[in-house]
Each structure stands twice: as C-alpha cells, then as structure tokens.
Amino acid sequence: MKKYNTPLIDQLEKGPWPSFVTEMKKAGKNNEMANDAVGHLEKCYTTKMGYWKHGGIVGVLGYGGGIIGRYSELGEEFPGVAHFHTVRLNQPSGFFYTSKALREICDIWDKYGSGLTNMHGSTGDIVLLGTKTDALETIFAEYSSRGWDLGGSGSDLRTPSCCVGPGRCEWSNYDTLDLVYNLTQEFQDELHRPMFSYKFKIKAAGCACDCVASIARSDFSIIGTWKGDILIDQKEVQNYAKKGMNVMSEIVSMCPTQCMSYDGKELKIDNAECSRCMHCISKMTKALKPSGERGATICMGSKAPIVVGSLLSWVIIPFIKLEPPYTELKELLRKIWDWWDDNGKPRERIGEVIEVKGMRSFLEAIGVPPLPQQIKEPRKDPFMFYTEADIAAYKAKEAEEKKTGKYRF
C-alpha cells in the first residue's frame, strides 16, 4: 500500500478533541480506498480546494435513492478514491444500537467499502463513506438480507428522524420513536424512489426543546406539546430553592408570558396564559410536568439558504393527536405531497412553493382553516385577495346582523 506523506493533516492529530484524521488513517491501515482518501485530503489541504466531482447516477436495482455517487477528479493519482460512493443506511429510531448490530454493519463495510463511516449524517442516516460501483449490489444484498435498508437521497422523502423521545426522556409528548418508525415503513416507496420536486424532510421532536432541530431542518416538523395544566410538586420547588436556585430570577422572571408567580413558599402558574415554551419545566424537571391531552404542533417549510434564503418552519396545525396508526397524519402528508406535485417546479422545496403560491392556497388544499396560532401577526399591507365566496359570506353575515340587530365581527 502506498505510504503518503501528510504533514498538513498530521497537525490535526494533535490536541484533545478526537481526530477525524486519526480515524481516516486507522481505516487506511488495511484499506486501499481509505488510504488513498488520506492522501487525497492532504492534497486538498495543500492546494486549499476540493477535488470531488458531482455525484453521478449510481444506485441499486429498483431504488432511485440511498446511494450517492462520488468520483474524484484525481482518480489517476489516487485510484482508491476514483469511485468513492456513499451508502446511506436507514438508522433505527433514536439511534439506539446493540454492539452486535454495529459489529454486523462494520463487518460488511470492511469487506466491501472503505471502513469509514459517519455516525451519523446530518439527516440521520448511518453514512458509509466510500465504495465502488461494482460493489453496490453486493453491499445492498448483504445489508438488506440482515434487516438493514437504504435511506433517502435526491428528490425523495429523506430518512425521517427523531429525538430520543420516550426511550429516555420525561418530556416527550408522543412516541417520537414509534411515529418515525411507522412513517418510515408507510412511505418506503416515497423514500426509495425519488418522485418529488425536491427533497422532503420529516423530523419528530417530543417537545419544544426540539433536540432534533425539526423547526430549522425539516420541511415537515412535528413538535410535541400538550393542552392541560403544568402540575407542580411544591416540595420539589422548595428543594430546588434550597439547592441554590433563585426561583424568582431564574424561573418566574424568565417566563416569556409572565404567567408565573412565587412568594417564597408557593409557585403558581396561570396555565391559560402559558405558551408551553419548556423553560420552567426543563430547569425544574423534578417539580414540574405537563398534564392533560398530548399531541403535537405541525410546522412546515424550514430549509437551509439555497435558493432564496433560509426558512424556519411555519405553524400549520396547532394541535394534532398522534396515536398509532397515525392515519390523520399520513393522510395529511399525502395531501401535502399532492399539492406540491401539482404546484412545485423542479428543485423547489415545499416552503418555497407555499411562498410563491400563497399560504391560503396551500391551507385550502390541505383543508386547514386560518387560525391566529399560525401567525406572529396579521398582514400589514392592504393588498389582499377576496374571492366571490368571501364577499358573499361577509354580506350574508351583515344581512343576518340586520335581522338580529346584533353585530358579529
């Protein structure tokens, strides 16, 4: 095996933080592909530029997603990375593993790939970095026969992902792990065979802490919430105070809706005014917990800046119950995709299409009424559409008022 002199990236093996260069070299010890990836990276550091070409169309039979073609411009100099394709394996919900499962993944990858991975990619998949075109079918047979399937890539449903949820968190308002597993199984076709205008990401967070960044990183953000009161264990409140928490300045004053009060003995919450932000609950988890009806808020549209600026997801459905078999949510997703299919141009994310076509057109298409919970504030300009039906409804209301002598605004 060729030995590369790598003075620049060697400097990234020093220091306390674990080194990715060390990982690449470890993989490169017995693997030509990983070894050439080390040399290739040193070259990038020397010239201050990358040498990967655009992804080519590679994949496994019957699937359009899950494999990302990657070729180097420097294939002759570094033959091990001439082809260096990525395999995305769909991760288990919540990223839980046994060592047995991980060893199985590693054994196959050592046999047919570079031995390099990302645990995990930004969307959530197990990312296996670097293999050749002729190994792809074999890799797929090895993994799928052992229960591992590919994730999404390209213009398809990307691999849904979620927070740790009820697996190890007291705040989850629905079963994030089960929902993501269930949706992934339901939409295998959408995940494996790109048929959308562009990518579509689903992320499920159990509460407003949003440990999976759904509000910023998914076209369809599912954020757990509740409709009842926050239950208070006053004894535990006192324990927090005794241990040094300043309940007034750290909890009451930091409440965004100012719905709490504390007289040194008793903590009170005006629950009707609470916006369920999770600050107090997350700081006093032993003392406070939500109660009553559980479910989620559905927000939509978030994405990174390409093309016309980044977006955070917008509130579309303030509250939805989420219980197996999640029929309402699945029907909603199908309605959304139908509308996107009818209205989106290639490479337009759903948030961008909603901006172009108008929120009203979208909400009407999916059967969601206008609600004040959806907006930060009403529109500021007087340029708006009226349909004939809108005016007829306003006129009918006024006729009714004339009869009753009572205004309804």
Binding site: W17, A27, K53, R103, S122, F140, A213, I215, S282, T285
Partner: protein
C-alpha cells in the same frame, strides 16, 4: 460464495430490539433526570429504576476500528447497549450503578473524551467538506477539530450561562442547516464563477441553469450556446455550479468562511432564531484556521462574561442590542451585515432608540 437474497422496502430495523432492559421496562415512564457531571447524567423512572448515561465525543467520521472499540466498552459495562445523539456524540447506557465509575475509568484510559451535557459546548454539527463533497469551499472537519481543541474545556468541564451550539457548513448549501446555531461557520465563495462554454452545451440544461440563480444574474449567450453571468448581480452562492458542473466557482485564494451568531432551535424563553452575520470573511487557512478559531473563542468568552444565567447567546444579544454586541466584541461592522438580499425590510432599524 453465493450472495444472500436481497430484500427491498423493509425499512430500518425496529428500534425496540436495541434497547437495554431498563428502557424496555420504563419506556415512556421516565420521571426526571439529573446532570451529574458534564459527561454523565441519570434518568429516573416512575418505577424508581435508574439509567446512567455516559456521553463521549466523536469526530463523526469514525473508522470501523473505533466503532468496534466503542462496542467493546458497551459490552463490558452496558450489556452491549449504546446510542448516538443528534449531534454525533456516543452515549453509553449504563443500567447498573456499580459500572458507572469503572466505565468512566475505562473510557478515560482508552482516550475517549467525556462531556458535552448541560451548559457548555457539545459536539459540532457539520458537513463533509473536502473529505467528501463536491461543492465544499472549506474543510468542515478540519475547522471543527481546530475549534474544539481550543474550546475543549467547555466540553469537558468549564460551564457557560447556557448551552452554546456550534456548527460548520462547508458551503451555503448548509447540509447541516447551521443557520440556527449560537455560533456557526459557513464557507463562502467570493468570486463570480467561470463558465466553460464548450462543456456547457453538452452537459447543462439552459432553463435549469437560469432558474437556479436566486439573483437572476444568469442570462443566455446564444452565440456561444452557453450562458453569461452578470457580475453586478452574482452573490456567489454556487447554486448554478450545483446544477451545471462546467460552471466553476472554486477559487483557493478567494474561498473563505463567514461567521454567523445568535441562532437557536428550541423555544425555551424565546422563539427559535436564525443566526446573523457578524464576520463576513476570513481566508481559508488550513490545517488549523487560526483566525477562525480565535474569532469563535473570542465571541464565546465575551458571551460568557456578559450574559445572564440561562441566556443563550442570541437572547443575550437581543437584550443588549446588536450595536452593543459589536462594541463589546470589537468586531468591525461592515456592509455585509446589512441585508441586501431578502430580509432588508425586516432587519433595518425603524426607531431612533439605540445605544451609543
């Protein structure tokens, strides 16, 4: 050797089979948790059962050799059970308290770094960079490594007013969606791309290329059967390159990074926020990007010494005002921080009340 029979559309394995018995038993019935140290926490179930978590850093790029070593540790102390976090840390799930100190000792002896829980800096969300991406304007992993070496004490021990989330994107595609982080590095191009007219005809689709430009800087060049790029309109986003490889935007001397700050994704106290541009350009300086690292460390330190307890970086800045942030950090305010793309109307000040 015959290949095993492939199966399609089976989806991921069911998560439940990978959970330790204590989770299986107390699934959805957790009562509270306590952070014990920056590297350990304990979750307590309604039944009284406890689960200890030991979190360790990962460079995200892992060799199978290291994954196997992680498996060795999990088998020795956790019945083989572990998980990863959404920010790429490894979490060992310890069901028996008597294994807690031994696993910490074992991890330390092997050189694993424990930390990342609570009010400090945890692992960095980042993209592929030069390691594996065609559109990278920098190497994300190299910046992460350099930055975290310098900020390591905030991972392992030193505390901040609240958590501080870092991210690195190697181009404005931002596969890691870094746009809502406390501090994020985003690599930028700064020069109008060059079109290879000969290759364009064979490899690119005219309407797609024109449509890819957010500032309408691209127009047809019928004589050459190619396109022209208007330098007065181009903002170097690279989206044309993504749809058409013969439009080259890489430039080693001009590619660099920008720093954006003040974003968050949770709704605690204040709504989720975008990160905003404060440093428009620093040259790429591999292998350790010293100026980028110094800038990030400086912002962290100014935040640490001025913010109130529980205030995230963006919340602190909103309280004191951006003009005060620039004054306190000494960062030069430039034209690039004034939006001239999509958000000017919302981001200009419309009151005479500000600080000197």
């Amino acid at each position: 050797m015959a290949l095993p029979q492939r199966r399609t559309d089976i989806g991921p394995p069911h998560y439940r089979q990978f959970m330790p018995p204590v989770i299986d038993k107390n699934y959805g019935k957790w009562k509270y948790h306590e952070v014990l140290t920056p590297g350990t926490m304990v979750h307590v179930a309604e039944s009284g059962d406890k689960l200890w978590t030991v979190r360790v850093a990962s460079p995200r790029i892992l060799s199978t050799a290291t994954i196997r070593e992680i498996c060795d540790v999990a088998e020795k102390f956790c019945g083989g059970h572990l998980r990863f976090t959404t920010r790429n840390n490894v979490e060992f799930l310890v069901s028996d308290e008597k294994n807690l100190e031994p696993i910490k000792k074992d991890l330390a002896a092997r050189g694993f770094k424990m930390g990342g829980i609570g009010y400090g800096i945890t692992n960095v969300v980042h993209t592929q960079g030069w390691v594996h991406c065609h559109s990278a304007a920098t190497d994300a992993s190299g910046i992460v490594k350099s930055m975290m070496d310098e900020l390591f004490e905030y991972f392992e021990s030193k505390r901040l007013p609240n958590k501080l989330r870092l991210a690195v994107a190697c181009c404005v595609n931002m596969c890691g969606a870094v746009h809502c982080s406390d501090i994020a590095i985003v690599a930028v191009h700064t020069k109008v791309p060059v079109v290879d007219d000969e290759k364009f005809k064979n490899m690119c689709e005219l309407p797609t290329v024109i449509g890819s430009c957010p500032t309408r800087a691209i127009s047809p060049d019928p004589a050459k059967k190619s396109v022209k790029i208007n330098p007065d309109k181009c903002m170097y986003c690279g989206n044309c390159f993504t749809v058409c490889p013969p439009i080259s935007i890489k430039n080693p001397e001009r590619d660099g990074v920008a720093i954006v700050v003040g974003g968050k994704i949770n709704s605690l106290r204040s709504n989720p926020k975008f990160s905003k541009l404060v440093i428009p350009y620093i040259s790429n300086e591999p292998p350790r990007w010293p100026k980028v690292v110094a800038a990030v460390k400086h912002i962290v330190e100014v935040y640490a010494s001025h913010a109130r307890k529980h205030e995230r970086l963006g919340e602190w800045i909103e309280r004191i005002g951006w003009e005060r942030f620039f004054a306190l950090t000494g960062i030069e305010f430039t034209f690039q921080s004034i939006d001239d793309f999509t958000f000017m109307r919302d981001t200009m000040r419309t009151a005479s009340t500000f600080k000197w």
